[in-house]
């Protein structure tokens, strides 16, 4: 007997087709209630259905949106069943994401029934001082990447006397490749809000902002619904003061993740950073004392209050306590979200949880464009703030991109600098001009025009940009380049000295050729080439070819591939 059907309709589920699936499911399910839930983190299995039966739950993954597939699921057929790989579940520790994908995200009652708001109740019975103390004792450090102790930040704000105090939730998750915060806001918005309200009590904040990037419409919708519900129930009244909770939508600027830029943006100005001091806790939004914490940090707060600081601190390493949510993506079998105890090794995350085959991975990039890459031979490093710093990478907000053996690290560095030089706000000369020069140099190298002096130039300029920039963007922008030079110097040398791209990724350094021995002359390549570079006799004119891979993608016999420029295949005839 099926009691309830849960369908994951967070952004990743919807992108995988959960919307169409839901429509048909509603029709086919008859009287069985269908419940929309958030994301359980197994994005590779979306669209994902959980059928709650008398004898426990049965999961179905990658369910197709047609009646036949759905009827098969409703009959509890053995085909298509999904179970969390044991290798993965044994490494994970679901604390902050415990309820994600299990409950209706916007139902107050559902969250309450799972122990929601018991932490807020407990916190309100404590004095502000005791509460701040509890957070300090837990050892919680900012999950946005900086790793500043949350309790200390709250103590600074609590100590201020002012008629208005501001607490901001940084939901501007701008690191490309990170989606932990999106998932939390979409799946458990009440938990984030509970954390913020506890923060309001601890610090005496009168106004709470959530600065959420506009690219996350579903997160904004769910938070808005949750805020409305809390206001209706009077839960936003802390003691006898009514706390205002306001959502502000960002407008697409990476630098606004930096706290002083975010404040400028909230004030309706260009999001440029400013000198600190004064620190925001002294003078922030409109001059009022302000503290900014990340979404995941707030998501941890109810857990700490409910279970106690000691229980929280029993997980993790000496200086990094609790769990961390990672967004796994890139060249792995099982991309998605994974919550793991601090101190777990990168190997466990990449191989056991991500399902990557050892030997296929070249490196991981942590911390997005501000981070660095860590080569596969250093994967036994424990994941905590300090160990990653020591390797020239950063924990960052938790984006973890796995880079396969077939990728070019110089191209990866070029990509990151392309991003940062465009996102630089322009205030500091070193960041504005320096990142542009670094980008141009990398562009030159990937085109095969690199000079012998380029790599030393990049290293020198990179160090200067780090020193000469005011905010985190400039201070970290050169990291991807410096880290790739440190660990993959050989790839830079191949591009500069031999004019070769070992991974065959850099277009100008490769040719495209057809292996005629397997060609069945179906002409799909000729039809699909946008520039007419394939001749009627199946020869590719590499001077016309834009390396767009269209022919490689359409070839049914996989006879077309990228080859080293001027190698065995003749560039002129396109034949062996």
């Amino acid at each position: 007997m099926i009691k309830t059907i849960k369908i994951g309709t967070a952004s990743c589920g919807l992108a995988a087709g959960a919307g169409e699936l839901l429509e048909i499911l509603r029709k086919e399910a008859g009287d069985i209630p269908v419940l929309e839930v958030g994301c359980i983190g197994h994005c590779y299995a979306e669209p994902l259905l959980e059928l709650v039966t008398d004898s426990g739950s049965v999961f179905y993954s990658n369910v197709k949106a047609d009646e036949k597939s759905i009827r098969s699921v409703l009959s509890l057929a053995p085909e298509g069943r999904f179970s969390i790989p044991e290798k993965r579940s044994s490494k994970e520790m679901l604390k902050v994401t415990r309820l994600a994908g299990k409950i209706d995200p916007v139902s107050y009652d559902a969250y309450k029934a799972e122990g929601g708001f018991s932490a807020l109740e407990k916190a309100l019975a404590m004095s502000s001082d005791a509460l701040v103390d509890e957070i300090k004792k837990s050892g919680l450090r900012g999950r946005g990447g900086g790793g500043f102790p949350t309790g200390n930040k709250w103590q600074f704000l609590a100590a201020k006397k002012a008629d208005q105090k501001i607490l901001i939730c940084n939901a501007d998750e701008g690191d490309p490749g990170a989606f932990m915060d999106r998932s939390l806001m979409e799946s458990v918005p009440y938990q984030v809000l509970e954390g913020m309200l506890i923060g309001a009590h601890a610090t005496g904040a009168t106004k709470l902002f959530i600065y959420c990037r506009a690219e996350y419409p579903l997160a904004i919708r769910n938070l808005k619904l949750a805020i409305k519900e809390l206001e209706k129930r009077g839960i936003t009244t802390i003691g006898n003061r009514k706390v205002e909770v306001i959502i502000k939508e960002g407008a697409g600027a990476f630098v606004c993740g930096e706290e002083t830029s975010m404040i400028a943006s909230l004030e309706g100005r260009r999001g440029t950073p400013r000198f600190r001091p004064p620190f925001p806790t002294d003078s922030g939004y409109m001059g009022y004392p302000t503290a900014i914490n990340n979404v995941e940090t707030f998501g941890n707060i109810p857990l700490i209050v409910r279970e106690g600081a000691a229980a929280f601190a029993s997980v993790g390493t000496e200086k990094s306590k609790g769990t961390k949510i990672f967004a796994l993506a890139g060249d792995i079998k099982c991309p998605g979200l994974a919550e793991v105890p601090m101190g777990i090794t990168l190997a466990e995350i990449v191989y056991d949880i991500g399902g990557a085959e050892p030997g296929t991975v070249k490196a991981v990039q942590t911390g997005g464009p501000s981070g660095g890459c860590i080569p596969a031979d250093k994967f036994n490093t424990p994941v905590d703030y300090d160990s990653l710093n020591a390797l020239g990478a950063i924990m960052g907000s938790g984006g973890l991109i796995v880079i396969g053996q077939n990728r070019c690290m110089v191209e990866a560095a070029r990509y990151f600098l392309d991003f940062t030089h465009r996102e630089s706000c322009g205030k500091c000369t070193f960041c504005r001009v320096g990142t542009k020069r670094m980008f141009e140099t990398l562009e030159r190298i990937t085109k095969g025009d690199g000079l012998e002096t380029d790599v030393p130039f990049l290293e020198d300029l990179g160090k200067k940009i780090k020193k000469g920039s005011l905010c985190g963007l400039g201070q970290t922008a050169p990291n991807p380049v410096l880290a790739t030079i440190r660990y993959f110097k050989n790839e830079y040398d191949a591009h500069v000295k031999e004019k070769k791209c070992p991974a065959l990724e850099c277009g100008p350094l490769v040719d495209v050729a057809i292996d005629k021995s397997n060609c069945i002359k179906c002409k799909l390549c000729i039809k699909n080439c946008p520039v007419g570079a394939v001749s009627d006799s199946f020869v590719i004119d590499n001077s016309k070819c834009t390396r767009c891979n269209s022919c490689i993608e359409v070839c049914p016999k996989k006879t077309i591939s990228r080859v080293e420029k001027g190698s065995g295949y003749s560039a002129v005839s396109g034949q062996l």
């Binding site: 590779y44 490309p176 989606f179 697409g252 796994l328 997005g368």
Partner: protein, 150 residues
């Protein structure tokens, strides 16, 4: 003369400037010169100051977008999964590059930093609907279908 009276819902505080601009873009699809003037007078700011804010944030468009707004994600995960090729294929199919709208105003193309659907990389969104795990075949059929259905 266009009517921008809906701006009053944003309030007059400077802090609501970005909200006001977002309202304009939602309604008009982009920020026109007329909109800049209207927003400036609503918030009692100079036009230059409003233009300064508009040009700072990637979300704001100064050109009229097409009926179907394609946004190709160029986040890290999508990039290493081939978003550059996705862009090229779209350009080959529609004849436009990032930042452009085609002649009949049907498609416009832009790139975005990250849509947060990294596990389904490479992805794009068309008028807000996200399409994941794209390959060339899926991409072309999505565009062809839109063309067919108008």
């Amino acid at each position: 003369m266009q009517d921008f009276s809906y701006l009053s819902a944003a309030g007059k505080e400077r802090g609501a400037l970005i909200k006001g601009l977002q309202m304009v873009q939602e309604k008009e699809g982009y920020i026109s010169d007329a909109a800049i003037s209207a927003v400036a007078s609503h918030f009692a700011l100079s036009e230059a100051e409003v233009e300064g804010v508009v040009s700072f944030y990637a979300q704001f468009k100064r050109n009229k977008p097409g009926k179907h707004q394609i946004a190709v994600c160029d986040g890290t995960a999508c990039h290493i999964k081939g978003s550059t090729l996705i862009q090229e294929w779209i350009s080959a199919e529609t004849g436009i590059k990032a930042g452009e709208t085609d002649a009949d105003g049907f498609f416009s193309l832009s790139t975005v930093a990250c849509l947060g659907c990294c596990s389904l990389a490479p992805v794009m969104s068309i008028n807000g609907k996200v399409y994941g795990k794209l390959d060339r075949k899926a991409l072309i059929s999505i565009l062809k279908n839109l063309r067919k259905n108008g």
